[in-house]
Symmetry: C2
DNA sequence: TTGTAAGCGTTATCAG
DNA sequence: CTGATAACGCTTACAA
């Protein structure tokens, strides 16, 4: 069955082969209940024999139904969030395919170029829906999309510069970071630990505040610690392993009795693991956030963002909106705490 | 200008607004030379005012011209090649867009699933062309695509299990690894160094042999070293930094007078940099392969694969084939050696 | 249950 | 230089 040269089979050829009209073939595919069992079988045979697939362009042109989801692919991610976005894109493509739609990838190095690209994609109907990642407080893309009523959904809340979530009419799906760190902290508390620290990001962000609040809530709920003690247990640094190592070393010196550490990201958690090794505190329990491959490799616990669920909800929201159904305009996904026993110990090399 | 609700403008509406027929509008866009300057201007005005964009599905249906390139997006890459493939996908999307086409992303965790996905994509005309990455010797996808005459191009040579390149009628573009390591080695030789080692992969592959041969050629060309001396200068290890560090330490102990080291990958080069630090050999010059962000960050030289050029050639080959023009069916890209002075020195921490 | 006819928006052919 | 007409392959009324 060669591909080249032989034009793809059309519905007419199938109809001819099965001895029926265009329509019956179309009905077999789109309204099977209206067609007799015997003819259905004959048509299916012809379809299989001729290897027929409906022409996607013709179908889209005729039905006007949404069929393509655009997503930005940016190779310039920093190491930290890079793999997470990779995994999200992967999950999104999977979910899009599962719904019989296609994923269109585009790139955009500058924000204004991105807006133009999006506009072209949607206006030419090359894409019907849009999934927007890596939004940030005051993101111009978000306000532009709200203004133009672009059929899009954000992965991440529309954080305002003041740290609140915008109530603007935009679809979004995010992971409940607070719940994630709460669950992580609770798992340590339930195991009988009391001195549980938190490794925060130095730069403030909605996401950062959200995640820290889960640890705080669990600690406060447990009681027995004053507010000043709580802040003693927090250390902050930029989102890379080197800085994290230094920060955790300092924390360990300040709070030698520290038993566990909840981190704002897996990147920070890796640094914490190294610091524990350096300070000969292999018993220190560490929990990260993202459940990256590294977390699995080094064997520390982490909060899984359930990206498949996020992607699925993104498309649910878009579909509901496209069909004019009401329903929620956003969703907060409950992440999963993946508990690992830390079977491995990092050893500082070169000693 | 709201997007939702207001159906996209059609060519008929533009024609009406400009006081001309469908056709003239189409001609303005597709055959401008056939249209009078004055009407052209009026039509362009109407297009801008109504914000008209031709419907991509209708255009594809009518012209049948290739418009979409499918590329696989796999989140399960190992760290080593991951970022390179990311960058290649990025370059491909850029190049595809520059040619007015679109990039369709698909995923496939298993080879047989991938074949089915490809088939569906092409038969439904969701995609017209295919770019295949990460091929390996004896790759079943390659033989399947040759057999079915799929309009695809490989990034990477169709290596046979015996290390030769298949002469099968398949389009491919690859980077001349031999040339890359040759250039790297020559730069060290030209700087007056003589003891230049090579850090190889332990597993054998066409790519691996290809890259090592460039170093060998430069060393042999320079002369003054017997064959046994040449093999003394080679060390091999798996493609990760940890193993590379150990391997280079051993090499440095065996050949203390080593001045420079050409590595099969940047991942290996990172390990070499660490080993140099550990062994207090900060003066050791290192060259990697891929010109990754890490190479720039740590300041060691590296061979750049010129991915934009690769992507461009991939589309050139596909276009030539689609148009029935003859011409070469493959291309070898000359990589660029990026010379860096190694201004930074890695210092082993915790000492 | 099946077939006929129309039209989605575009471009190509071919008159005027 | 411009405009009517047909066709790309499909689905959705509607009629047989």
């Amino acid at each position: 069955m060669s591909h080249e040269g032989s034009r793809p089979t059309t519905i007419g050829e199938v109809a001819h082969a099965a001895g029926v009209s265009h329509q019956t073939v179309s009905n077999v595919l789109n309204a099977p209940e209206r067609v007799a069992e015997s003819t259905k079988e004959r048509v299916h045979d012809a379809i299989a024999r001729l290897n027929y697939r409906p022409n996607a362009s013709a179908k889209r042109l005729r039905t006007g139904r949404p069929a393509t989801v655009a997503i930005r692919f940016d190779a310039n991610w920093d190491e930290g969030t890079g793999s997470l976005l990779d995994r999200f894109i992967h999950a999104t493509i999977d979910e899009v395919s599962a719904r019989g739609m296609r994923a269109l990838a585009y790139t955009a190095d500058q924000p204004d170029r991105e807006l133009r690209t999006i506009r072209e994609l949607l206006e030419a109907r090359d894409a019907d829906w849009l999934i927007v990642t890596s939004t940030f407080p005051g993101d111009p893309r978000v306000s532009w999309m709200i203004e133009h009523e672009i059929p899009c959904v954000l992965f991440g809340r529309p954080w305002m510069p003041d740290g609140t979530v915008s109530a603007a009419p935009v679809l979004w799906v995010d992971v409940d970071g607070r719940q994630g760190t709460y669950d992580a902290t609770r798992s340590f508390l339930d195991a009988g630990m009391t001195r549980i620290g938190y490794l925060d990001w130095t730069y403030s962000s909605g996401t950062g505040v959200d995640r820290r609040s889960g640890w705080e809530a669990a600690m406060v709920e447990r009681g027995g610690l004053g507010a000043e003690t709580l802040s003693t247990l927090v250390q902050a640094c930029p989102d890379d392993a080197e800085h994290a190592t230094a920060a955790v070393r300092e924390l360990l010196r300040r709070v030698p009795e520290l038993e566990a550490l909840v981190c704002a990201s897996d990147t920070l958690a890796v640094g914490a693991m190294k610091a524990a090794a350096d300070e000969r505190r292999a018993g220190l329990r560490v929990a990260g956030f993202d459940n990256s491959r590294t977390a699995a490799l080094l064997g520390f616990s982490s909060v899984d963002q359930n990206l498949a669920r996020v992607a699925s909800l993104c498309l649910d929201l878009l579909a509901a909106r496209a069909e004019g159904r009401g329903g929620p305009s956003n969703a907060l996904v409950h992440p999963s705490f993946v508990d690992r026993a830390q079977p491995y110990t990092l050893t500082a090399s070169g000693r």
